[in-house]
Structure formats: C-alpha cells, structure tokens
C-alpha cells in the first residue's frame, strides 16, 4: 500500500531550478534512502513534502490525501514528521520540555504527558539529560533530541535529514538500530537523507538518487550504487563512502 506519493514536483528559487519533475512512491512501512551530491535538492524535497515550501508544480499525496501546500503544522499533526539537518532545539526549554511539546498534541493528563515524554527521551538515550537545558546538549545529543521530538509525534511517516551527520561511528550504531526497530515495532515508514553510504546500504529497502533537482535513479542500494550515472554524478567520488 502506498502511503506517500509525490508526482511532478518542481520548485524554482528565483530562476534557480531546485526541483523538477520529481516523482516517486513510498509504501507503508518501507524505508527509502535518499542520496545525492550537495545541492541536489534533497532538503528542498523534504521542505516541499512537509509543507515548509509550496511547490510550483506537482502534488504530494499522503495516505491518499492531497496535502500539497498545506501548512507544515497540519501535515505534522496528520502524521508526517520531519527532522532538521541543522538541529533546531527550543533554546529556553529543557530536553524533556522539548519532547513534551511534540507529545502534547494528543490531549492527555499532565502526568501521562510527562511519562510518555520521558519514555521517548529514554528511548533515544537522553534519560540523564531530561531536565537539563536543551542548549547544553552536545551535537550528538541534539541529533537525538531532533529524533526524540519527531518520535513523540507518533509519526506514520518520518523524514530524517542527515540524522547521522556529526556522530562518530560508535554513536551511529544505536541510532540505526533504533530506526530499524521503529519499522519493526511501530510500523513507521522512513525516508532518510544520508551521506553515509554504509547506513544507506544497511537500512534502505530502496534508494532514490537526486541530482540537480531531478530523480537520477531509483532502486535497491546495490542497483543504484553500480549505476554509472550515479557514479558520474558524484564526479568520480566513490559513492560507497570510505567513512562508513
């Protein structure tokens, strides 16, 4: 069953073509990796899907409903939630309060809200930080906070923008385990933008390659990484990055 359907999406920034004719589908419970060189339009695509930017052309269908141009908060409450590549914590709040804010859309007694927020905070491994100001978190912690806030929304579709960037390899493993677990336990559909190829290879059912705002290739991780056009787009860089 298709949960997300993107058709003919195009977006111009004052004449600069950021996205053109982007089309793809994501099935319920699927994990879709999105890769592409810098400036390929990956984050713009997320912005369009989640309503932060209205596309010039095309449509976004979420669970069969047209959500094109809807406000980001409505899309988020409907169950499609994204994280940011550059972390955006609420600076005046504690870690727990950051998460509570995302969890409070479901009306619930204050105690239940608190318990549920704590569960999420602990699930991402920030238990010891719960009552500290969010701004005191190191980069890796802020990444986890982004994830925790999104999880607190109980998303049906979760869009992750470089959730592993800035983490040392030892920190990546548990995040990857958590993401895999999200699909198994919660049935969450995942779209994730990632540069670390090892993670893409390990997690994705399918991979979408963007280049200069277009879909360059789509298919299994093995298929796309052996596609000469993809290798070309990375300018001879080895796409299966050495970092992983």
């Amino acid at each position: 069953m298709t949960i997300l359907n993107v058709t003919g999406v195009g977006k111009d920034f004052r004449g600069l073509r950021a996205l053109s004719e982007v089309e793809f589908e994501v099935g319920q419970g699927e994990i879709l990796g999105i890769i592409g060189p810098n400036g390929a339009g990956k984050t713009t695509l997320f912005n369009v899907i989640c309503g932060a930017l209205a596309p010039d052309t095309g449509r976004v269908l979420f669970a069969g409903r047209d959500v094109t141009g809807r406000s980001p908060d409505r899309i988020a409450r409907a169950g499609m939630v994204r994280t940011f590549q550059l972390m955006r914590p609420f600076g005046s709040m504690s870690v727990l309060e950051n998460v509570s804010l995302a969890a409070q859309h479901e009306r619930q007694p204050a105690r239940r809200l608190r318990e549920r927020s704590l569960e999420v905070v602990e699930r991402v491994g920030l238990g010891q930080w719960a009552h500290r100001p969010a701004t005191e978190l190191p980069t890796a912690g802020l990444k986890r906070l982004e994830l925790a806030r999104a999880l607190a929304m109980r998303p049906k579709v979760l869009l992750l923008d470089e959730v592993l960037a800035g983490l040392v390899p030892a920190e990546r493993e548990p995040v990857l385990d958590l993401l895999a677990d999200l699909r198994e336990q919660d049935g969450t559909t995942l779209l994730f933008i990632e540069h670390i190829m090892a993670a893409v290879m390990r997690l994705s059912d399918r991979v979408l390659v963007l280049d200069q705002g277009r879909v360059l290739a789509a298919g299994s991780a093995e298929e796309v990484t052996s596609d000469p056009r993809v290798i070309e787009a990375y300018l001879g860089e080895e796409p299966a990055g050495a970092e992983g």
Binding site: D73, E122, A150
Partner: protein, 355 residues
C-alpha cells in the same frame, strides 16, 4: 512504547534511567509562582493605610504600569512578538470605557470588559495580517507602531470621540464601586487596581504554563521547528496577542477612571507604548516577575520626574513646566540596562541564581 533504546554515548543513561532524573520537583513552577503572587498581594493590601496619601497615588500609578507591563510581556516577552504599539490597546480600553460611560452611562466595569473585547478583536485582526504576511522583528514592531499612531490620528479627528478634547469622566456625588469613583485619596482605588493587577498576574502565570503557553514559547524559540512538530502557529499567536491586548486595555480603562480624564495623546501616544516597553525591559523581558520589578522602578521614577517638573529645585529652574523628562530618563535607564543587564533585573538575577 517498547523496544530498543539507545544507551551510552552521551552519558551513563539507559533503559532504567528513572532514578534522580525523573523525580518531580517539590512544587510545580506554576503553583510556586501563584503562591508568590498571593503573598505579594497580601503584603500589598495594607499599603494604602500605611503610606501617606501622596505615596498612595504613586502606588496606584505603579499598579497601572504593572497592568500594562504584564499585558505587553505576554505578547512580546513570552511570545517574542515585539510590540511598539501597545498604546493602541491601552487607548482602546480607555476610550471604549470612557465613551460608554460618558455617552451612555454604562458602568466602567462593563466598559472595561467591552474595552478588553474591542482591544482583543483589533489585536487579532492586526495580528492576522502581520503574521499572514510574515512581518517579523523590526518590521513587525514598526507595523504595530504605525497602527497605534494611525488610531491616535483617527481618534484626534473623529467627532464621536470628541476629537483632541477627549473625555472627562462625569463626577458623581459620594463614592460608588459600580461607577469606580471614590474620594481622591480613597484606598479603594489602590485595592481595585491591586485586584486587577493580581488577576492579570495570575492570568499571565496560568497562560505561561498552559498548553497554549508552551506552544507559544516554542514558536518564540523556533517557529519553523514548532510548526514542523505540529504546533498550530497562527492560532496560538493570535490567542497570545488577544490576551496581551485585553490586559493592556484593562490598564487603559482603569487609568481613565482614576485620572477622570483621557485624550488622544494620553491614551494612544507613543509614550504609552514606550512606558510598557521600558517597564518590562528594565524588569526582565519574558520573565514572570520582571513586570513587577520594572513597574515599581518606572512607576516611582515617573512620579519623581512629574514632581520635579512641577516644582523643580532652584538649580533646575529651567525645567519648570517642561514635559518629556520621564521619557528621557527611561531612555537613559534603558541604555544602561541593555548595556549592563541585557536580560533585565529579574532575568539577570535568575541567571545568576542558576549558576
């Protein structure tokens, strides 16, 4: 939610980390703040019986400043929407109640409620367009300023608001709670203002800790992140400006009743907006108690300058009959505060305390 948790990496956290970290604080901040408010109110009640009557008048002035400041702080402090035009809401409160009283003999209590409704309604309309067209920061502040000035000019040139003359509250025989009129040095004015300020303070505390207050704080910190986490941004911003405007309107309505007179400059003049801003910035923007500390300072200061201008000592004779000294002093004080205590007195003290 069950399943895998991430452990390690940022600390010895883990699955069972429900020890110290999760223990509830002894008193929720909301209840602690309400308790402090109650104590402050109780302490203030006997003041007019103790103070000489001249000081009593200063105390009422402080409470009017406090009402304005609490109103302004909700929108500009909690909500981060910097208003340079709160005179608009102060004026609407003052004029609505004055008009209803003078022209239709309506009790100022009803007039006050009507003024709150008018101010809130107008704030929602202005707010809607300002947010719809994404006016932010200095542009938003300028728009609010322009709007207040526009209202001042409209009121100055409109027949049914008595043009530049304004309204004088008709005097009655004896005192009446229903008409909010008492002998000039009656402590009743203070107690009514105190009750209004107490209600406003309680509203501000309850709002800050409500679901809506949390949304508004998140929007202030990072609007895009808040929206991406499902916060209904527009609705909560409008709710904030409405509450802020309504409380400021109460200040205006009470002001008219206390000084028995209002005109376009007193109600809609930019110095009203500046007083609201100065009070909160000095006290501590976005804090619960900043408006209280600020009102005490700015309210007393405004009285000192007024006295100084009326009866200056010999060496300051040139000040006789001038005006604007108070605003000049606020300006100096603001510069000093912004340079030395950027978070205001309360904000800075709280930051020290946490260290």
């Amino acid at each position: 939610m069950t399943g895998i948790t991430i452990a390690g990496g940022t600390g010895p956290a883990g699955r069972g980390g429900t020890g110290r970290a999760t223990k509830a604080p002894p008193l929720r901040p909301q209840n602690r703040q309400l308790a402090i408010l109650l104590v402050l109110l109780l302490v203030a009640i006997p003041l007019p019986l103790i103070l000489p009557s001249a000081q009593g008048a200063v105390a009422v002035r402080i409470l009017i400043f406090l009402l304005m400041a609490v109103g302004w702080n909700i929108m500009s402090g909690f909500g981060g929407m910097f208003s340079f035009g709160h005179a608009a809401y102060f004026g609407l409160g003052a004029y609505t109640s004055a008009y209803l009283l003078v022209e239709h003999g309506v009790s100022p209590w009803i007039g006050m409620l009507a003024g709150m409704a008018v101010a809130a309604g107008v704030a929602v309309v202005i707010g809607y367009f300002a947010f719809r067209y994404k006016l932010q920061g200095a542009y938003f502040a300028l728009a609010t300023f322009a709007f207040a000035e526009m209202l001042r000019l409209i009121v100055t040139s409109t027949e049914f608001t008595n043009k530049a003359v304004g309204f004088s509250v008709p005097l009655i025989q004896g005192s009446s709670l229903w008409k909010i009129q008492f002998a000039a040095d009656s402590p009743a004015y203070f107690w009514i203002a105190l009750a209004l300020a107490g209600l406003a303070g309680a509203a501000s505390i309850l709002f800050l800790h409500s679901r809506s207050g949390r949304y508004v704080t998140a929007i202030r910190d990072d609007e895009l992140a808040a929206a991406s986490l499902g916060t209904p941004v527009m609705r909560h911003k409008l709710m904030t400006v409405a509450l802020s405007a309504a409380i400021t309107a109460v200040a205006g309505a009470f002001y008219t009743q206390y000084y028995l007179f209002v005109n376009p400059d007193l109600a809609f003049g930019s110095s009203v907006s500046i007083q609201a801003i100065a009070t909160v910035v000095i006290g501590g923007i976005g804090t619960v108690w900043g408006p209280v500390v600020g009102a005490i300072i700015v309210g007393s200061l405004s009285d000192v300058t007024a006295t100084l201008l009326r009866t200056p000592p010999d060496f300051l004779n040139f000040l006789q009959g001038r005006s604007g000294l108070d605003v000049a002093l606020y300006a100096i004080l603001l510069i000093l505060i912004v340079r030395l205590l950027p978070k205001g007195i309360v904000g800075t003290a709280m930051a020290r305390w946490r260290r």
